[in-house]
């Protein structure tokens, strides 16, 4: 049976390769910057490792890790063949390669939205406990949980993705609002009304064809789409209440708007935010890199604070999003790939580089007070950003990940948010109930 499927998928892949004329993963390396590594390691021939990424920004980071690996391990040099594909395309390609048993890379960056797909059935990713367990205590533990199944870790985190509030001080100052006074969401709404009255600008923008800030808002209250055992809890009272409150912010208090383009990564959204279209957004820490890259006019005006809370006992953040880097069992150099990956992502130095090169919040918290991370950042109000992180180190909960995770996120992104907050064809409660119904039908299949 497996063989049959394998043949079919191999054919599909071959055909798609011919049709789209995209480069096959096993073409000869053509990546520049490899020569340096070769010179330093005349002792051994470098082993080529194929590496797929879906985010161009990550390529330079791994190239940097490659250089330091080759310097430190002249007897086991590596040559990295990095291929970068668009997000959805890379994951489809990977799924087909893994199901057919041929063509998968040695190492691959997997988006958390899709990670659960690769933890079904006979898992074709390598177990990474050997390198994770010795350093586990220094990491935000929940970031391993999201890439684990039955206690075995299959992916290494790239960042914490701690959700924070980004306030535009230029707008808040006009209304005389101090972001340090905003502790609860009720405070946030009051501040929003002041801002709206003084400037006419909405306090916050919500994603309506994606899932933020709804997801971090329910995770900070201890809820989620799925519970720990993977059962659907999308329509529980906390979630209904949260979505109702978001609805009120938009249509009753009128302090919130839908993001242009519907999501924080739409090309329409960046100019909107850049020109002061909203006084704040609530997004994970990795969104700093988007500010730096796409919103140059906000330099010096943005400050980072913990998320407001709903009630006593809530956490002030939630770890949202993520990229788990995995080694596939198809790799011919399994040990080398795992060791290289550990070098690239688990060491202290690597975690400092994650901040320096990618502007992500590194998952290893014992580097948060390192001098490189403590340097005040001119873009973000000249503040020591990681002091905010250190304050809430134990308050970063991560969502539950199980078989239905990819589907649950799809349903929320595509139907629940849009129908309840934008189209308004359903009330928040109806939209959540309908979404939960759809997910339960998958649960019982």
């Amino acid at each position: 049976m497996k063989k049959r499927l394998a043949l079919l998928l191999a054919i599909v892949m071959l055909a798609s390769m011919l049709l789209t004329a995209c480069t096959a993963p096993d073409t000869t390396p053509k990546t520049p910057g490899e020569d340096k590594g070769k010179d330093e390691s005349k002792a051994a021939e470098p082993t080529p490792l194929n590496f797929w990424v879906f985010e161009e920004l990550h390529v330079a980071f791994y190239k940097d890790a490659l250089n330091s690996w080759n310097e430190a391990n002249p007897d086991r040099p590596v040559e990295l063949v990095v291929e970068s594909y668009p997000n959805a395309e890379m994951h489809n390609k990977l799924l087909i390669a893994i199901q057919s048993g041929v063509g998968a890379p040695d190492i691959v960056d997997i988006n958390i939205n899709y990670f659960a797909n690769f933890l079904m059935g006979d898992i074709q990713l390598a177990e990474l406990n050997r390198v994770v367990d010795p350093v586990r205590q220094y990491f935000v533990e929940s970031r391993f949980d999201i890439y684990s199944k039955n206690g075995k870790v299959y992916g290494l985190p790239t960042h914490v993705g701690a959700t924070v509030a980004y306030y535009n001080m230029e707008i808040l100052d006009k209304a005389g609002v101090n972001p340090d006074d905003i502790v609860t969401w009720d405070d946030f709404i009051e501040a929003g009304k002041k801002v709206k009255a003084a400037t006419g600008i909405p306090m916050i923008a919500f994603e309506v064809s994606d899932q933020r800030p709804f997801w971090p808002m329910i995770v900070q209250r201890g809820s989620d789409y799925l519970d720990k055992d993977g059962k659907v809890i999308l329509d529980n009272d906390i979630n209904i209440d949260t979505l109702n409150r978001m609805y009120e912010m938009m249509y009753e208090h009128e302090i919130a708007v839908a993001m242009p383009g519907g999501k924080s990564w739409a090309e329409e959204f960046f100019p909107f935010m850049n020109s002061g279209g909203a006084a704040s957004i609530v997004m994970p820490m990795w969104y700093m890199s988007r500010f730096l890259a796409y919103m140059p006019d906000l330099e010096g005006k943005i400050v980072i604070r913990p998320m407001p809370i709903w009630e006593e006992g809530n956490t002030r953040s939630a770890g949202i999003g993520g990229t788990g880097t995995a080694v596939t069992l198809q790799s011919k150099h399994l040990d080398l790939a795992i060791d290289f990956l550990a070098h690239a992502k688990l060491t202290k130095e690597a975690n400092i580089r994650i901040w320096e090169m990618l502007k992500f919040d590194p998952p290893r918290w014992d580097v948060w007070d390192a001098p490189q991370l403590q340097e005040p950042h001119p873009y973000f109000g000249n503040e020591k950003i990681f002091n905010v992180m250190l304050q809430m180190k134990d308050e970063i909960s991560s969502p539950n990940i199980s078989d239905l995770s990819a589907a649950a996120q799809d349903v929320v992104k595509q139907n629940v948010m849009f129908r309840a907050l934008h189209e308004r064809s359903m009330t928040p409660e109806e939209a959540l109930k309908a979404g939960a119904e759809e997910l339960r039908s998958l649960e019982n299949k």
Partner: protein, 301 residues
């Protein structure tokens, strides 16, 4: 009986074997790339393909799962899209063909090329251009025109009606040239004498068009209808360029996108296969009804 010792030569020269050797390349590609995947799709549609290579027979339950709102939404999108394509594309193509078939029209070949060139572009490239034209900001081309005319700017990709408009206009722009060529060839096959004798009988241009041109174009219209129905129901690209990772509220969710979403984005190959089989059934049924309705199966008299 031929003797076996004559060997390869008699084998190749044999009148019964040679034809099969000539069609072998086609036969092989048909078997490997078409028949085998088709059979396998049917096979998978009765299984739960769980994770990497585990299959589990589950009877009809993939098909039972089809009775859900998302699938209905997908069918509705495809049906509306096909309907709009038929009522816009065919008349428009006939109109262009008739105009460009007028002998004394200047620059005929230039206009023919202009209308035909979009057919040669990739749907993805054309889609990117359309997405920019129909951008959400007030500075985007279509919105800036609307604002000049005194209408508010639209968020084109965020509602069902404008979403449909985007897909239909992209498809029309891209395909009208091809259908125009079909109709031009149809027009040129109509004998000149018919028009001449009609003129002698005193027919004006309009009655010549409705009494001679249209009836004689019927075979081309049937052909165009069949192709449009196929194209309409298996549409993917027109939707993919506007909402590439997923669309809000199922705007632009077509049957093929539903397959893509279930099979690849959610790793549920069995259900994806079941949707594929149902799509095949739907298209075959509609086309058979349509062909019968137009009498394509009647014997030539």
């Amino acid at each position: 009986m031929p003797k076996g010792s004559l060997g390869i030569k008699s084998f190749l020269y044999s009148q019964t074997v040679a034809p099969y050797i000539f069609i072998l390349p086609f036969l092989l590609s048909f078997l490997i790339f078409f028949l085998y995947p088709t059979i396998n799709t049917v096979y998978m549609s009765f299984h739960e393909v769980y994770g990497m290579g585990n299959m589990n027979f589950i009877g009809l339950s993939n098909y039972q799962r089809l009775f859900n709102q998302n699938f209905y939404d997908a069918i509705r999108t495809n049906t509306l899209y096909t309907f709009f394509l038929i009522i816009i594309l065919i008349p428009l193509a006939i109109l262009f063909a008739t105009l460009l078939n007028i002998k004394y029209l200047r620059g005929r070949n230039f206009f023919k090329s202009v209308l035909f060139i979009p057919a040669l572009t990739s749907i993805i490239v054309a889609g990117v251009a359309f997405r920019l034209l129909f951008g959400e900001s007030e500075a985007a081309f279509m919105n800036s025109i609307l604002i000049r005319l005194g209408f508010p700017a639209q968020r084109w990709a965020f509602s069902h009606s404008t979403g449909m408009l985007l897909m239909v206009s992209l498809a029309t722009w891209k395909m009208v040239g091809i259908y125009m060529v079909y109709f031009i060839s149809g027009l040129q096959a109509i004998p000149e004498e018919l028009y001449e004798s009609a003129e002698i009988d005193g027919a004006n241009s309009i009655s010549k068009f409705t009494r001679i041109t249209l009836p004689l174009l019927k075979p081309i219209v049937i052909y165009a209808l069949t192709i449009i129905i196929f194209d309409g129901y298996r549409m993917f690209g027109e939707s993919y360029v506007f909402w590439n990772e997923g669309m809000p509220g199922n705007i632009g969710l077509t049957i093929v996108r539903y397959i893509y979403q279930q099979a690849f984005q959610r790793n549920d190959m069995g259900f994806g296969s079941a949707i594929g089989i149902v799509l095949l059934t739907i298209v075959l049924t509609i086309n058979l009804i349509q062909l019968r309705f137009f009498g394509a199966f009647k014997k030539e008299e």
